[in-house]
Structures are given as C-alpha cells and as structure tokens.
C-alpha cells in the first residue's frame, strides 16, 4: 500500500506518495528534496532532524510521513522570510556558532521554537530546551550565546 499524503510544508501545499513505514525525515529528504533536515541517529537522540509539526518541536525521524496528512510542517528551509534570515540564523553566523554544520538546522529549528513562545529565556532555559540537540564540534557555548543574542534582538534590545 502506498500512502497519498496532502500536507502543508513551509506554508506551501504539498502532495506526495510514500510507503506506510517511511519516516517524515526520509520523505523530506528523498521525496521532496528538502535536504536541510539532517539525519544524525534516526533514533530520537540527536535532534539533527528537528522540525515543527503544527508548531510543535518533534524529531522527524520518529514521525511517519503518512502522519502529516492535513497538518503543517516547518523545516529549516522555511525559517527565513524570503532573503531575510531569521534572527536565530543571523546570530548563528555572527557568533560563528557552527563548524561542520550538520547539527545546525536542528538547532535553528529548535531555537526558533523556543523563541516563538519565550523571547526572554534564561541561559539555563536555553540549555535545557536544547539538551536534545547534540553537537560534536562547537562545545555548545557559541550556540547558547547566539540564541540568547537572537532573543535580545527579537525583543529589540542590544546586548
């Protein structure tokens, strides 16, 4: 049985066919060409595949593609507005909060989800929220600074 999925991805209607046991991560990358979302572990441990499903942060490797029928998905490709980067993306660049970059899309989506509902998090809240996003390169500090700075930017404060 092939499943026919009609959904909304990054505010655009999308339709695709998939296998019933296929994950959203596999469908995004292999069927829809949205390769910004990364696979680190495929077991829910690393956060590289983070996307928003109806506004909720989830690991795309533990969501079946068939489940997103009628729902809204936001991937890292949909975080910027046209050519204007989201403050989180801008601050990742300014703080050099990435090295190899494989964890970055997951961090950007997860941090955006945090700032969507709390634009003034403490450092502890940022670290706790991002505890499921693993980075083998940066040592996390620059990432945390970038997110705190993005939050300040969104509140219209300079730090």
């Amino acid at each position: 049985m092939t499943v026919h999925v009609r959904t909304t991805i990054n505010a655009e209607p999308q339709e695709f066919l998939c296998e019933p046991g296929e994950t959203l991560l596999e469908a995004l990358r292999s069927r829809l060409g949205l390769t910004g979302t990364k696979e680190g572990c495929a077991t829910g441990d690393c956060g590289a595949c983070s996307v928003l499903l109806d506004g909720r942060l989830v690991p795309a490797c533990l969501v079946l593609a068939a489940e997103v029928s009628g729902r809204e998905v936001l991937t890292v490709e949909g975080v910027a507005t046209g050519d204007t980067l989201h403050p989180v993306q801008q601050k990742f660049l300014e703080h050099a909060a990435l090295q190899c970059g494989v964890c970055t899309p997951g961090f950007v989506v997860a941090a955006k989800a945090l700032l969507d509902h709390n634009d003034d998090p403490t450092e502890e809240q940022v670290r706790y929220w991002l505890a499921g996003n693993l980075c083998r390169c940066t040592g996390y500090d620059k990432i945390v600074r970038a997110v705190l700075d993005a939050a300040a930017d969104m509140r219209g404060v300079t730090v």
């Binding site: 296998e19 019933p20 046991g21 296929e22 077991t43 829910g44 068939a66 489940e67 945090l114």
Partner: protein, 290 residues
C-alpha cells in the same frame, strides 16, 4: 525503514479496535518514540501502524471535579503546559516532563510509556502513587485496571491482542495531599533511570500523615507499590526518622539486577535515598497546601 503494508489513522475507537483485533500483527502507534525505534532496531515492522492520535478519546487532558482524565496518546508537551494539572499533581507532571528531550516531549505519550512496559518507565511510579487507573477498550468492551496491576513483566502488560489503552484517570487529591517523583540517571540528561521513586502523602490539620503511597521503579521486573514504605510514613509527622524507615522499606522491597546503569547493591541503596527525598518533597508540598 523496511516495508510495512499499511498505515491507518482511524477516527473512532470502534474502528481502531476493529483494525487491531482483525490483524494480530498490527500495532498501535502513539508518539512512536519506543515503537519506531524498536521497529528499526529489530527490523520487525508491524503489518499495520494504527495511528491513535486522530481518535478524540485518546488525545487531550481534562481536569474536573472528579480529577484528571488523560487521553492515552496525549503528548508530554501538551500535558506539561496544563497549569492546573501541574498544580494538583506536581510529581506526576514532573515525571512526564522527564521523558526525553524537548523533541521527544512533542511526541511521547503516557499511554505509550505504560504500554511499552519498561520497568524503568518514568511515569509509572507517579501514576501508581496517585491511584491512577487505565481505561482499556477491546473487542469485549471496556474495562479499567489499576496502574499497579497494568504491567506484568518487562515489556508485558495486561493488554490482550486488540486491546487499546484509551485514557488514564486519576482521582482528585484530598486536602493537604501532594506527590513527588525522583529518578537517578547515570548521565545528567537523556538517559534511562537506574532507579526511581514516587511518593504521595496526605496530612491532617496538625501535620500528621494520615495516608501515603510509595512506588519504586527500575529495581524490579515492574514498578512496585511498596505498602511497607507507606506504613512507615502513616501516623508520623514525616520527620527524618519516619523518612528513613520508609527508605529502608523501599530498599528491602527492591529486587534489582546488575547492568550497565548500576549494580544491584547500588540500586537497592539508591532507591531508598530517592524514596526518602521524594517523600520529603511530597511532605513539604502537602504542608504548603490548604
């Protein structure tokens, strides 16, 4: 992933029960944080994934005069946002908040945590001390089972083929009653408990404990209700001596195994420490309540 023949998202409980009872290899899917990981690891895929999240009775959280009704497939993130649930059952909601990371919280359900049947499942002890019951629907109709009788061994539950856990119902706590849950994990985040303990205590106006329940996890094939630990608390003012007696009772009841998360001896000791501290936190919370 390898092949599964079908994905179904029934809109009614009756349809879900029918799908599950006509195909023994179909599996219910809530958040998938156990099921999809296990399917991948074992390469054993169910014939059909029966997604429970479009069945109204299975999703949502309600707090009313009788207590809490928790749709079995409700995500941890949704539960933790419910301020009244956090106020009435702080220990239970904290246990739910411990499931994995923010991402896992967006998917993981309490029903899945219980039905997966892990002895280390973080929410089970708190459900037990709060006298939670599981509402089960199956081909033969509906029944309810106390959570302390729900898990029968590692990975085994009272569910029969075709059965679904619909909801968990938790009675409203009595006056001056509160709960707490603590676990010990070898790493500081994202790990499975080496031991866990939950306590619920009720005080009278003078601060004497009139009712208590203690449950321990990850130290036996299933989570255990420990009546001897509760007895050590009842009748006391929950002073240090009473808390220590409860700790000893919990350690005595534990039947842990040696594994990479800790030796049996260590776990027996730690589960006592966790019991003492959890009962202490529950006591402080109960004292702060009208």
């Amino acid at each position: 992933m390898p092949q599964t023949q079908a994905y179904e998202a029934p809109r009614t409980l009756a349809d879900a029960v029918r799908l599950l009872s006509t195909d023994g290899h179909a599996r219910p899917l809530a958040g998938g944080t156990d099921l999809l990981v296990q399917s991948r690891a074992t390469q054993k895929l169910p014939s059909t994934f029966v997604d429970l999240k479009r069945i109204p009775e299975l999703v949502g959280i309600e707090v009313g005069p009788d207590g809490l009704r928790l749709g079995a497939a409700t995500s941890a993130a949704v539960i933790c946002e419910h301020a009244e649930a956090r106020r009435l059952w702080p220990g239970l909601v904290e246990a739910i908040g411990l499931l994995g990371s923010t991402q896992i919280q967006g998917r993981a359900s309490v029903g899945g945590n219980l039905c997966n049947g892990s002895p280390a499942a973080d929410t089970t002890c708190s459900l037990i001390v709060n006298r939670a019951r599981g509402v089960i629907a199956g081909a033969k109709g509906e029944r309810t089972v106390e959570v302390e009788r729900f898990t029968t061994g590692p990975g085994r539950t009272v569910l029969e083929p075709g059965d679904l856990l619909v909801a968990l119902v938790v009675p409203r706590p009595a006056a001056r009653t509160a709960d707490a849950y603590l676990r010990l994990i070898p790493r500081s985040e994202m790990d499975i408990a080496a031991a866990g303990a939950a306590a619920s205590v009720t005080l009278d106006e003078r601060g004497v404990c009139t009712a208590a329940r203690v449950a321990i996890g990850a130290v036996a094939p299933t989570a255990l209700l420990v009546p001897a630990a509760a007895d050590a608390l009842i009748g006391s003012r929950l002073d240090d001596a009473a808390l220590r007696r409860a700790a000893d009772a919990a350690s005595a009841a534990a039947r842990p195994i040696d594994d990479k998360r800790g030796t049996a001896v260590y776990r027996k000791t730690v589960v006592g420490v966790l019991t003492r501290r959890a009962a202490g936190i529950a006591a402080e919370r109960a004292r702060a309540r009208p």
